[in-house]
Subunit: 433 residues, 2 copies
Amino acid sequence: MNIRKIKFQPKKPDEISRLVAWESDYGQEVEQVVKDIIGSVRHMGDKALVDYTEKLDRHLVNDVKQLRVSQEQLVEAWESIGDEVRKALQLAKNRISEYAERQKITNWQLTEADGSIMGQKITPLDSVGLYVPGGQAAYPSSVLMNAIPAKVAGVSRLVMTSPAMDGELNQYVLAAAFLCEVDEYYTIGGAQAIAALAYGTESISPVDKIVGPGNIFVATAKRQVFGQVDIDMMAGPSEIAIIGDGSAPAKWAAADLFSQAEHDVNAQAILITTSEAYANEVVEAMRSMLNDMPRREIIEQSMTERGAVILVDDIEQAVAVVDLIAPEHLEILTENAMDIAQRVKHAGAIFVGPYSCEALGDYVAGPNHVLPTSGTARFSSPLGVYDFQKRSSLIYCTADKASELAKSAKRLAETEGLPAHALSAQLRIQFES
Amino acid sequence: MNIRKIKFQPKKPDEISRLVAWESDYGQEVEQVVKDIIGSVRHMGDKALVDYTEKLDRHLVNDVKQLRVSQEQLVEAWESIGDEVRKALQLAKNRISEYAERQKITNWQLTEADGSIMGQKITPLDSVGLYVPGGQAAYPSSVLMNAIPAKVAGVSRLVMTSPAMDGELNQYVLAAAFLCEVDEYYTIGGAQAIAALAYGTESISPVDKIVGPGNIFVATAKRQVFGQVDIDMMAGPSEIAIIGDGSAPAKWAAADLFSQAEHDVNAQAILITTSEAYANEVVEAMRSMLNDMPRREIIEQSMTERGAVILVDDIEQAVAVVDLIAPEHLEILTENAMDIAQRVKHAGAIFVGPYSCEALGDYVAGPNHVLPTSGTARFSSPLGVYDFQKRSSLIYCTADKASELAKSAKRLAETEGLPAHALSAQLRIQFES
């Protein structure tokens, strides 16, 4: 396993940019396939869903009703998964919910001296669709992380879709859906599921927003229906950057890098360190641990092709490198880790100190594990309750306030060549209408 | 001017959905033109900008530097526009800023009994691009509404681009850019401006987010660069819905409907009323006012093709119709307007009572005039300071907390088939590592 080593040169930031560059252009073919699937579902409704589910998931049914997972199936799954997993899921739910409650945005009003009010009114979305991938990437934690903030926001209809290849269901995912009180659950996958959620069919009412990860067909479909409904961010491969000063065991850093690398050959794990000796220790630890890793082939490819060790002169430079990368996950395995955390500008989630590893955040710490990937932490936030709430502005003017404001509004409408705007304002000017 | 009249039937909500349906599919041709322009700017940089600006804006320069508007030009514009407009812009800025300040999202931390901390850290975006259309739709108010929340958020680099057809500049737009302390201003328009903002060229550094309205080339380009940078919502035609009970002068309602209709033949203005007499009065007022409207052709086409009067039995039904439409702007020209406002779920901005007309909100009331259009108020919010801030999660676990959480994290990682996650957690379990 060869891991590239880079000496950071502050005057050549492009070297870091090239290292983390990722472009997800799947080309015209996927776009067209997805467009056709969406078109079929819009025009043929349930029938298209049944046909695609047979063809793509090898799951034969006569009717969309048979693709609906019943509440009894969810209860059974919950009861079947064993006490230890149930407790772990329940702990995760409690902590995710508590964090989510704190995130809620709320109404406010600015009341002016004359009684005029400018305010903001918050409403939950009516309905949300949650896509959960099938097969190996069917993660119960993904159900919790997407469903809980929607429910805390007050979304009254949460619809989950997940493909059941050959009709097979993942009991952990069903149990998580039970725990999160998902309202409807269909075993439909791919672009056809996204189309059904966005436009509705005879059996499935449309939703207002679609969240959750998926393969390139799902991601492309989400992009295509954006505008008809809202979507969450477009996820790229997962990344971790670790700042190490040598104070945490090399084995810990190695395991944490592996926990990212095992996701996917495109996942990216980067160690940023002030100590060349520590860099060598961590690489050595990775080499000695690799053979015991069940997913070693994925890890090796990911670490070789996309991993890196970046040597920096000091913590100042380490923070500069982090801000260039804007990593999805940042671990600060150093002394005075909280001070360093405060200096970082761009990262999705910041794990502070040697005990706070990403795996805790992936499952149970509380903050959401749906995070901006591929440098989009420059401008995006973790998924949160606020993604399932929306704001309306409130504008209440007294007669006097309206009269005062209308004079300026009228003048500005004139500069913009909008005379009906000017007239509408003018009518509110006292003694002049 | 014929305006359709609809009697609302609660069991046939589709009639309302059809009335407001809007699909913005510009087809493959625009997509391809835009893709080519973006490709050229990415590969040819400044040279492509100069070429497109000559070809598309008939504005010939030798160098992108000549497309940069100087601070002196901004100062001159500010000084040239006259005292009255300057005061109106300053009033608008003060009120928009005050409202924006109240919107800021802030850091918080949940500290647990053992000292573990789960928190949220807020950072402004580093750089934002603001697109301002040229020609007739060059609105100084648009500069204020987009630039002020970015500046209040703390964005340190705000780059404005706006085409100068034949090299001509709008002095009001320049003055607004001066007032809002725009940091860089280029007279570049169209998809080429969006490409330059998203990817950068030799002379223009890229930004993290692009906001502002534009024609279909601009809108398509924004959609294509989404992911590389963030974008604001995709704006459709503008709409207003007015709830009237007959208590406000018919002429006021008529002028307010016109103020929407004059924007664009696709703009939509709808009166919802409990009183057929009032409906007739408002329509009559519109007929008698139409000839005095400088933009009467646009108004007439908009009102005839997309306008409507919807008769409802009571206020309950009026609110139901509003929630079906999810209008960008809602005026409540009734008694007890604030009570009704509280019952509405879906609207971008709610103007409460007869004095609070949309034109005040378009310019000076304070809340943002960039609002979700075409029914997207079901899931979107007005533009605000929060659009220029982002969140990072903070996770700090003590050794004891990590040990406790790691047991559940490990168990869940095992259910998901992610052994390196399990190992990373396991290493934090005390007495077991």
